[in-house]
């Protein structure tokens, strides 16, 4: 038996090398990528790392490329804003009133399981081709984690915290502002983090279907222009931005998480 602190396999390697390990993981990923493209033959060789990074270097100095990046980020931000504007209040109401929770649980779990992309034909028919359709589809995907986590947070607030607040002389408004909302922020951030991940993932297919700008569109456009190396290059950018978005909300969450 290992001692408790050694029980995680390889934990003795951690420490000084700890900070290097993520880089090792990245290098292994790169090696797998290189191996697959180098050993393969035919069209797959177009996606090799060397060609990809060459194209990426061109992309990151091209102003038009940034137009696509910004329009994608804009759609992402609008969808996130809508999810927050609708999801947080709905989550608070659903979490606070037992009847509202009873009434909505089945509905929400049902809606959540419908692929947001299934909404696309309806979105196109109602909103037409364009940003509004893409944002609507993203909204239908990103709403649920915010609603469900906020409601869960409100529903599981330590009742004693409210009792303490009351006995210290707080009225309902003061309790809401100084106890309930701060107590729920970690759950809200969990929901927001999940939502951000979903929105960023759904952004790409949404932009493949209904618009002619943005990173999702750019991937299909690269294929149509036969500039195959551009596809993994754009994928790297998408991954990088997504990772950065998640990291920032994770930092925020860590600051607010009192365990």
């Amino acid at each position: 038996m290992a001692t408790r602190d050694k029980r995680r396999y390889g934990s003795e390697l951690l420490g000084e090398t700890d900070r290097l390990l993520p880089a090792v993981g990245l290098l292994v990923g790169l090696a797998v990528w290189w191996t697959v493209t180098a050993l393969g033959s035919g069209i797959i060789t177009n996606f090799a790392p060397a060609a990809t990074f060459a194209v990426l270097a061109e992309l990151v100095v091209s102003p038009e490329f940034y137009d696509h990046v910004f329009v994608s980020l804009y759609r992402f931000a609008v969808a996130l804003g809508l999810c927050l504007a609708v999801g947080l209040p709905v989550g608070v109401v659903v979490g606070y009133f037992a009847a509202a929770e009873r009434a909505t649980t089945v509905l929400f779990q049902f809606m959540r399981m419908i692929s947001p992309l299934a909404w696309f034909p309806i979105a196109i028919i109602v909103f037409g081709v364009g940003t509004r359709s893409a944002v609507f589809v993203m909204f239908m995907a990103g709403l649920w984690p915010i609603v469900l986590n906020t409601a869960h947070g409100i529903g599981t607030i330590d009742d004693d915290w409210i009792t303490v607040g009351e006995s210290l002389g707080g009225d309902t408004r003061a309790l809401l502002r100084r106890v309930v909302v701060p107590a729920v922020i970690p759950d809200m951030l969990t929901g927001i983090r999940l939502s951000i991940g979903i929105l960023w993932i759904i952004l790409v297919p949404a932009e493949m279907l209904g618009v002619n700008t943005g990173l999702g569109y750019l991937i299909l456009d690269a294929r149509d222009r036969f500039s195959y190396a551009e596809i993994p290059a754009i994928m790297l950018v998408i991954g990088f931005i997504g990772f950065w978005l998640d990291l920032s909300v994770r930092r925020l969450h860590a600051r607010w998480n009192w365990g």
Partner: protein
């Protein structure tokens, strides 16, 4: 950590009673509410509970219970788990409604929680998103007031937390958290202090240390206090009177008056009082 005898309150003899009657008060009441006590403080508030009945569905917790706590007095409610002592404290604090009867603090009917009757709970229940200092300030803030920084400093010093004012609550030990909780309640300048087994989760040494500090604080601030506990030593050491509660629905079976002039953990006279209280507990069928 002080184990020696605690000095009697300075104004003990000023009231002319020259120590108090050794006779225990009649069951459930010190009917002569005007009687002065060791820690008598002129501006402290009396607590009067009259004909209190509490019933949960089929369970009668107590019936027609009377309790009077004189201004500046420390009254301990002693009894085993489930005897209704916490329920009684909740009724005094307005956290629960009596089925029948009434509670008055300083002549005012208690109809709900209020910052003037401050409660210290068994768990510290600090708000983890606030620092120690912000927790102490939360009472005034909840009431829409700006906390007085000097007063908060004094309180932190009073409970010995002036060094960790900016720490996160998660960094506090159990004893420190309970000190912070006490300071938070005191920041509202309550007229009475209602404590619900506040030290029961602490180790023995910390517990004794906090008992001494609580007595010092109660003396210094001159508040009336009701202290719920299931620990005989604690009740006898802290209380001017110890109200012994029997199994439900007995209510208060006996009130033991403690001579706080001999208050000590090892004085013989005091140990005798402890033994007497223990016998009373046995008599009401608790052991």
């Amino acid at each position: 950590m002080s184990l020696e005898s605690r000095p009697a309150a300075a104004d003990d003899d000023a009231d002319g009673s020259g120590g108090r009657s050794d006779a225990a008060s009649p069951v459930g009441a010190a009917a002569d509410g005007a009687e002065t006590v060791g820690r008598h403080a002129a501006d402290a508030a009396p607590i009067v509970a009259g004909d209190l009945t509490k019933r949960y569905d089929d369970t009668l917790v107590f019936d027609g219970l009377d309790l009077r706590v004189a201004p500046g007095e420390v009254c301990c409610l002693l009894g085993p788990s489930g005897c209704g002592k916490t329920t009684l404290l909740h009724l005094l604090a307005g956290l629960e409604e009596p089925t029948d009867g009434r509670v008055e603090i300083d002549g005012e009917a208690v109809t709900g929680p209020d910052y003037r009757w401050g409660v210290v709970f068994q768990d510290p229940l600090l708000y983890p998103w606030l620092s120690v200092r912000e927790n102490v300030e939360i009472g005034p803030r909840l009431r829409g007031e700006t906390p007085d920084a000097d007063h908060v400093d004094e309180l932190l010093e009073l409970v010995g937390l002036d060094g960790v004012a900016d720490a996160d609550t998660s960094d506090l030990s159990g004893g420190m958290a309970q000190r912070a909780s006490l300071a938070r309640t005191l920041a509202n300048d309550p007229d009475v202090l209602l404590l619900d087994e506040p030290f029961s989760a602490l180790d023995q040494l910390t517990k004794m240390e906090l008992q001494d500090e609580l007595l010092r604080i109660v003396d210094e601030l001159g508040v009336t206090a009701v202290f719920v506990t299931h620990d005989i030593d604690e009740a006898v050491y802290l209380g001017d009177r110890v109200a012994i509660m029997g199994p439900v629905p007995a209510g208060i079976e006996h009130v033991e008056r403690i001579d706080s002039e001999t208050r000590s953990r090892d004085d013989e006279a005091f140990l005798a009082e402890r033994a007497a209280t223990f016998e009373r507990l046995e008599a009401v069928g608790l052991e």
